[in-house]
Symmetry: C2
Subunit: 532 residues, 2 copies
């Protein structure tokens, strides 16, 4: 007998979904049992649902392909939502399979009953509940179509849909490709005209999936030919960078510096990005970062073909000749000026002694291995890391796209599963890491090559800064206690060992360097607690 | 200057809200700063939002009063939803304050923007976004009214509502009491008639806030006078039990035994409970637990006055005489028969040697101190605990009301803050505890008298049972791996120490007894990892 769960998994497998990150419950037991029939799909257990959805995000960022998840009813879905928020903003493709009570059981209001569709909707592009085993294959294919376009699809699977026999058409459908947004030739022509007229006062702002080596190379040619500047989103899902890659200038997080930067441009060409706005509102500051009267040319909307758009623009400005070269950047000290230069390998000198945030940045610039995937949630400690690693060995860099905290360790797990031969380096702050430390266990279970650096400063330093930014210079002891992680200071080495990941605490750059080398040399995950 | 945040906190304080469990972010900095002006409100930091909402649930279960929470935007709210689900089912009153972007910032679609109202709605009775500092006091009072009725109220606070000055009426409003459901005298009369005619085949099913000593005492008199049975919900928020308390027979979790029990009754009198249904649906089993033709008398709907309803019923059946007594139960071996007996103190003998689940139950029956608050999430390990503690020293017992896993350690923190002079004992299974271990840090930070027993069996044993229940007797290696917590086995002692809670691992009852006594004797939290 083939049941609905079997059909669901056969449809996933037929459409080349290779991994299902899962935290199952009773209502998903048939799905779990069917997993053993889908021989090409790997099941990966997360102890908390944030690990599940975050890992799917990380997997998709590396592969540009969807992962599946398995979540248990409304509360299980709820636990996965915050990382789904980041995935939505990262253009990660995910097929969430959310178990539900049997269709006839839902109206009885049993204790675990809740509005699953309503819960999924704010964090999904697409939500559907599949009413029967005979609809599940088509519904799964529709969900995959969505996810292949870089969207979050939430498919609700009532228990009886999973366990009842299939009676209909036994064919397993192939997911149809969704039409991509058509590039508007007139917008590209207008952008080209502006670039030719005033390249120096024009910036190309890149985001989403456009920050890859190929797209950056084309953008670099345009910049070299026209004098345009290359900017990138403050929080981009994945940037291919380091030696040999065309550099961009990242729009700064603080409002003042970003407004200062953007004031230089009277036109912005948007490639898989949007008109830049402040991350938060602040009293007496504008939330719009660009100068009044700035003209925008959206040459590649979200989900558009960024490479095609950039190539069309390059052709229109006469930057098609691959011989058009840009100056190289050959410094680890942050001279990426957003002029489309290609970074040349230039490792900063290895610092020594007591650890400071700046020394960590120099260490990373020196030590990041070729092909590394860096997952950055270093918050205040990492303010200088981006600049200090511009000329490092070539690597990929992830940012927290939706601002939801705690994403890094789950996302690192998914990236490591997508790319088992590449080292993954998580840069994690102590406060952020404490939202979802369970991802370490999945890293241990799966033997993933992830090195996590935890920067332990025992406080929410960013919120202390933000207090001043929102106009509260002095605050009392109760407020202070809510921004403080001491009393007790979490012992990250103990937490990590408890989750099965060997850990070491370091207090000098020499110790950090030794621990890092050892961690890279050994298979499986390691955690280094960096006392800042 | 008084701003909106000041008004919000003044309104909470004026209405005797004593605690705010918080995990703030940038958009809540004015609220945090104002907390120091509200001198009677205690701020308690949680490192993860599940700690925040779970602690509010635990606080409210003990006080029947609301706690406030502070959550950061959509993703922060999302992380708190699963424990809000349990709170909804527990009739816990909570005023969630959820920070939002400034009103003018929301339309810009900054990275952290999401549909907060839509996210809150499935897990709240009441949702409102307050548009200005001049509306915030009245909106807060409305939220408190809801929470005082035992509901979850979610008040969204845009950042500019918090930071802008108040210009309107400076008076701080008192929350109006919501009208309670009127008891239906005809239903009570009909129930009394049925009890007089056929008490032996009638059961009184109690839940919600009715499982307190006073209400149970009246129900015991009714049972003694009429022969009725006393049953209680499988998952009740708080039951006052042990020596001196009238006992009930809990409706079993498995479908078969619960249907067998309920088949004996042709009428059920519902007191703050509902028609009992299966927790999950199973193939070929009915989801309805009562026999066909069962008559229901809902003498006290949810939010009704259970004591008044029971007293009216007692009067109607002539059980008003306080001299009507019931036989005592004087055994630790589980003879609570649901006949309204009062438990007499009877401590089971202290077992010894290697630990088994049954020995843990006997140990608890022997060792629970008077006045303890027991928060139970022991799942399969604890199957016999309820019966083995029926004649223990008087204590309160919490269950996972909504079935959302990981509730116990956060809820224990809130109960301990509500009742600092009473020992709190958390009975936690290893799999469940790993959803939200961050609550241990809050227990350490606040120096709470919580003893956590973790039952480490390194697997999701309940799901192994449920596989068979849903008709999957054999399953493959991938399914098996998803139900297994070994490889690596989490080291709970290390996790606990990492969170700042001293821990000890025990393998014999003697070690457990010694560690438990020591934990109770010392102030502050302790964790005991019980290897099962």
């Amino acid at each position: 007998m083939t049941n609905g769960a079997d059909r669901l998994l056969a449809t996933l497998e037929h459409n080349d979904i290779e991994v299902c990150f899962a935290n199952p419950g009773t209502s998903e037991m048939h799905f779990v049992a069917s997993l053993d029939k889908a021989t090409k799909i790997r099941g990966v257990l997360g102890l908390f649902e944030g690990t599940v959805t975050g890992a799917a995000d990380g997997y998709s960022r590396m592969t540009d392909r969807p992962a599946a998840t398995l979540l248990h009813l409304g509360p299980g879905l709820a636990n996965g939502l915050s990382n789904m928020h980041n995935a939505l903003r990262a253009r990660a493709g995910i097929v969430n399979v959310i178990g539900d009570h049997a269709t006839y059981h839902r109206d009885l209001d049993a204790p675990l009953t809740s509005d699953i569709e309503g819960t999924a909707r704010p964090f999904s592009h697409w939500v559907r509940s599949s009413p029967s085993p005979d609809t599940i294959a088509a519904d799964t294919a529709d969900a995959i179509s969505q996810a292949e376009a870089g969207r979050v699809a939430s498919l609700i699977l009532p228990a009886d849909t999973a366990w009842n026999p299939v009676t209909g058409d036994p064919a397993v459908p192939t997911a149809a490709a969704l039409p991509r947004p058509v590039l508007d030739e007139r917008v590209i022509a207008a952008a080209a005209k502006r670039l030719r007229a005033s390249g120096e006062h024009t910036a190309i702002l890149m985001g989403g999936r456009s920050l890859r080596a190929d797209q950056l190379a084309v953008a670099g040619r345009i910049a070299a030919a026209t004098g345009a500047h290359l900017l990138s989103d403050t929080f981009a899902p994945r940037t291919e960078r380091g030696a040999g890659r065309v550099t961009t200038l990242k729009v700064p997080y603080p409002v003042g510096p970003s407004q200062e930067l953007l004031a230089d441009f009277d036109a912005l060409i948007l490639v898989d990005s949007k008109e830049p706005v402040a991350f938060f509102a602040y009293p007496d500051k504008s939330s719009v970062l660009t100068a009044a009267g700035t003209t925008f040319f959206e040459i590649c909307p979200r989900e558009g073909d960024a490479l095609a758009a950039l190539e069309a623009l390059a052709e229109a400005v006469g930057a098609t000749d691959a011989d058009v070269t840009c100056d190289g950047i050959a410094s680890g000290a942050g001279t990426a000026e957003g002029r489309g230069q290609t970074a040349e390998l230039s490792l900063p000198g290895m610092p020594s002694g007591t650890i400071t945030p700046e020394k960590i940045g120099a260490f990373l610039g020196n030590a990041i291995p070729e092909g590394a995937i860096v997952v950055d949630e270093s918050i205040t400690t990492g303010a200088s890391f981006w600049v200090q690693t511009v000329s490092a060995r070539p690597h990929d860099w992830f940012s927290g796209t939706g601002g939801s905290i705690g994403y890094a360790m789950p996302v690192a797990a998914g990236a490591a599963i997508a790319c088992p031969d590449r080292p993954v380096i998580t840069l994690e702050s102590d406060g952020s890491g404490l939202y979802q430390p369970q991802a370490l266990w999945t890293q241990a279970r799966e033997g993933l090559n992830v090195v996590t650096l935890i920067f332990n400063n025992a406080k929410y330093q960013i919120l202390r800064n933000e207090m001043a930014n929102v106009g509260v210079p002095d605050f009392g002891p109760k407020a202070s206690a809510l921004l403080d992680l001491s009393d007790p200071v979490p012992n990250w080495s103990a937490i990590s060992e408890g989750m099965g990941v060997p850990a070491r605490r370091v207090e000098t750059v020499e110790q950090l360097d030794a621990a890092f080398s050892e961690a890279l040399a050994e298979p499986g995950p390691r955690l280094i607690e960096v006392m800042v």
